[in-house]
Amino acid sequence: MEKEQRPHIVRYQTYVYVLIALLLMTFTSVAVTHINLGPYTVSTALILAAIKSTLVLLIFMHLKFDKKFYGYMVASVFLLFFCVITITFLDYLYR
């Protein structure tokens, strides 16, 4: 039962940079909605959301600096959810 003092301190600056990136992507996704991309509108919005989420997970939620198994767990959970939603769509796509 070690008392793990997290030695790593994230600089304020890092958080600010991440916020700027997040805001830029937010404004980009808003701008993109005005362009009609047809079937790709959803995917573009979701891809940008995924990138934003990755930044939040890695930096804000500290996964980049924590033990690897946290990252594996998080990735596995998202993978599981993705599999479940895909299999559900095997019904709706092919009815």
């Binding site: 793990e4 994230v10 937010t26 996704s29 808003v30 993109v32 909605t33 939603i85």
Partner: protein, 204 residues
């Protein structure tokens, strides 16, 4: 509670963090169920969803997104602050997080009451007349943003509680797992919104 001395080495920050992450997984799956419902009905009613989304204000949605992103930054920064033993800054940053959360809720209140005053809410007469897709869109809108708002309130309570602990020096530079965990919860709330935002506001 049992009164036997629960050993002092029972402090396990790593365990506490693991526990918090597992809890976050349950929340991801909880909202996940609603995302499944959204995906299916969006797939089945693309045009109706597209039209219904016009009724929402992209401006308020974007504003709320910005608010939540900034609040995520401030709570993350509060952890740096406490590690630098800067108690005052820690409390300020946490306070700003709470303030931003509150503004988010105020915006949400105006959004919802606007819709409700126009007769758009589950079970309303106007909605009964609308297309199937529109009924589902608004059902999902209220259910998902409502559940999300509930989590914002819970997050605010959690952060408020931790602020008190910081003020009382029970959360300190050498014992801040509680602050970390409240931060993780807050980021989760932000993550959910990062997906809700494009799915409801940007499909016009």
């Amino acid at each position: 509670m049992n009164n036997h001395v629960h050993i002092d080495e029972h402090r396990d920050d790593e365990g506490a963090k693991t526990g918090m992450w597992i809890f976050i997984f349950t929340e991801i799956l909880l909202f996940g169920g609603l995302f499944i419902v959204y995906s299916v009905y969006r797939y089945l009613n693309p045009l109706a969803f597209h039209l219904a989304a016009h009724e929402l204000s992209t401006f308020i949605g974007t504003l709320n997104t910005v608010i939540l992103l900034v609040s995520s930054m401030t709570i993350a920064m509060s952890i740096t602050a406490i590690q630098y033993k800067n108690k005052k800054l820690t409390l300020i940053l946490m306070g700003i997080t709470l303030l931003l959360a509150f503004i988010f809720l105020v915006n949400k209140y105006f959004e919802w009451s606007g819709k409700i005053s126009h007769g758009i809410y589950p079970g309303s007469e106007i909605l009964q007349e609308a297309s199937r897709g529109e009924i589902l869109f608004f059902g999902l809108y209220y259910a998902m943003t409502g559940l999300h708002a509930l989590h914002i309130i819970i997050g605010m309570a959690f952060i408020g509680y931790v602020m008190r602990m910081v003020a009382k020096n029970e959360v300190r530079h050498d014992n801040f797992i509680l602050l970390e965990n409240s931060g993780l919860y807050w980021h989760l709330v932000d993550l959910i919104w990062i997906f809700l935002f494009p799915l409801f506001y940007l499909i016009t």
